[in-house]
């Protein structure tokens, strides 16, 4: 079950992209999302694609994983492309289908939007593929630290996130076990009409919830005994270390932004 999930999956490696501080990577991706909107011409979009491919190359991640990451949004990509192709009425008529006409402006716009989607998804996929979920959590906690001033429970949110991540495989195993136990008792979850299958899920969910609550209670006790009393006065075992190369990565991205501003029409 676990193997199929590409989301949140981490591919170990030792590339420069892997080694960059998770905070830098997060800031990088967020800035990149904003910068993408600067592009408005063939040359600027071309530059974006080149930049993205360059990062993919740097990360040393096999292209297969990137494609897997793209799969879930492929439909959205095609859909937006078609939407723009059919409904943007600019430029000259390219094709007359009788019921509607396709304009050159529409096709161009469609391609641009598709490129925009593509680079965004590839960039975020690279982020999750090269950074462990726990580092992302740490980075989020540290980056959101200023929000503590406005009473945001930053530490609690980060802890919740890391505990959920830690329990995903445990609960997956449990689901698998319960499913097999119910199947052994004659429950059929894979065939039959949709309504029947939906009903068959109930005897799966109830034991799963019961056990999840039991686990939560045990975990709370264990945490309390180990001295957990909130974020106050806690130190951190996981240290993040902001290096020159992290600043460098952000500067490279700002360079890209400047180039886009200069080249856009």
């Amino acid at each position: 079950m676990l193997e199929k999930m590409i989301f949140g999956r981490y591919i170990p490696g030792d590339s420069i992209v892997h080694r960059i501080d998770a905070r830098a990577k997060l800031i990088f991706v967020f800035l990149f999302i904003a910068i993408v909107f600067l592009a408005n011409s063939w040359i600027t979009y071309g530059l974006l694609i080149l930049f993205t491919l360059f990062i993919v190359r740097l990360s040393g991640i096999r292209f297969y994983f990137i494609v897997m990451g793209l799969k879930p949004v492929l439909f959205l990509l095609i859909f937006t492309f078609l939407l723009h192709t059919f409904f943007t009425k600019e430029g000259t008529v390219l094709l007359d289908l009788g019921f509607t006409e396709i304009y050159t402006g529409g096709v161009i716009q469609g391609v641009f939007i598709a490129i925009r989607f593509f680079v965004l998804v590839v960039m975020t996929t690279i982020l999750t593929l090269t950074t462990t979920p726990i580092s992302i959590t740490d980075a989020l906690e540290l980056l959101m630290n200023p929000l503590k001033k406005i009473k945001m429970p930053v530490h609690e949110l980060a802890l919740m996130m890391s505990i959920s991540l830690r329990f995903i495989p445990t609960l997956m195993d449990e689901t698998d076990k319960i499913m097999k136990a119910q199947m052994a008792r004659g429950s059929d979850m894979t065939t039959g009409p949709f309504k029947e299958r939906l009903k068959a899920v109930v005897p799966l969910l109830i034991p799963l919830f019961v056990s999840a609550f039991k686990r939560a209670e045990d975990l709370a006790t264990a945490m309390e005994v180990r001295g957990y009393k909130g974020g106050e006065g806690r130190t951190r075992f996981r240290q993040l270390d902001w290096k020159m190369r992290d600043t460098g990565a952000i500067i490279v991205l700002l360079g890209l932004a400047v180039a886009l501003v200069l080249l856009r029409s």
Binding site: M223, G227, K229, F237
Partner: protein, 280 residues
């Protein structure tokens, strides 16, 4: 010698109990520093409630629990807890960290230990339980025995005066149980830690200096393991399984083979058997 734990006439009744029957009733004992105590009893004998009373998850309805010479109450609770390590039954449900080293560091983080010190303590604790090669492993890649050893490392990283094991081996397979017991034996040789082990595995209880048998919330027997387990009938009547070697010796005696009644371990049994003929 300093007294680590002292229970004085402690009773506890769960508030939800319809039948007003105390889970623990009028129990007194004390544990000295460096001792290894095993508390045994079948399900519902009150042994787990006792663990909760000692770590302050519950406060006694009657009597006083003293930890490290101080009565345990809401004011002394956190200070006492920082000197107390605990390992629970379910290996999965006490693993907080994302990886082995994060989990071992959890209690250290909670107690505000500085980073440099933390790294050193995490490494030495993992070395003590022989899990140093698993620093970055995630819990779902570990066996039950390995997870329990990590839990022990997490507890001893705080350098506690007292280590409480609440049925720490009961959910493990024989292999995992052996690993954990070996780890505990090594710990005992290499450090001064006081161990309070709650168990229904009598072989594990054999490792202790002193055994307390609980029954129906009361202290039923107390003494050195050999003494306590010499009361075979009583022990079996309480629903506890004697160690395999002791059972064999019992059955042999019933068949008229003259082996001593005090046999507890396999080693003693072998010793008795191979000298049986020559001693005659």
């Amino acid at each position: 010698m300093t007294t680590v734990v002292k229970l004085q006439d402690v009773s506890y009744t769960y508030p939800s109990d319809e039948v007003v029957k105390p889970a623990v009733s009028h129990v007194s004992y004390s544990v000295e520093q460096g001792e290894w105590i095993a508390i045994v009893g079948h399900n519902g004998s009150g042994k787990s409630t006792m663990a909760k009373l000692i770590n302050g998850l519950l406060f006694p309805s009657e009597g006083v629990v003293e930890l490290f010479g101080q009565p345990l109450n809401e004011d002394t609770l956190w200070e006492s807890r920082s000197q107390l390590g605990m390992v629970f039954q379910n290996p999965d449900n006490q693993f907080v960290g994302a990886t082995v080293q994060d989990d071992v560091a959890f209690a250290l983080e909670n107690n505000g230990i500085v980073y440099e010190d933390m790294v050193e303590r995490v490494h030495s604790a993992l070395q003590q339980v022989q899990m140093a090669d698993f620093l970055n492993q995630e819990p779902h890649h570990l066996s039950g025995g390995q997870k329990q050893r990590v839990a022990i490392a997490g507890a001893i990283a705080m350098r506690p005066k007292l280590l409480i094991l609440d049925e720490a081996t009961s959910m493990l397979d024989p292999q995992g149980r052996r690993e954990v017991i070996q780890t505990l034996q090594m710990l005992r040789e290499s450090s001064e830690v006081t161990v309070l082990s709650i168990t229904h595995d009598l072989e594990e209880a054999m490792l202790a200096d002193r055994v307390i048998v609980m029954n129906g919330g009361e202290k039923f027997l107390e003494g050195r393991p050999e003494e306590v387990f010499a009361n075979r009938e009583q022990i079996t009547k309480l629903g506890l399984d004697l160690p395999f070697a002791a059972n064999v010796a019992n059955l042999l005696r019933a068949r008229g083979v003259d082996v001593p009644a005090t046999i507890m371990s396999e080693k003693e049994l072998v010793e008795a058997l191979w000298t049986l003929h020559s001693d005659k």
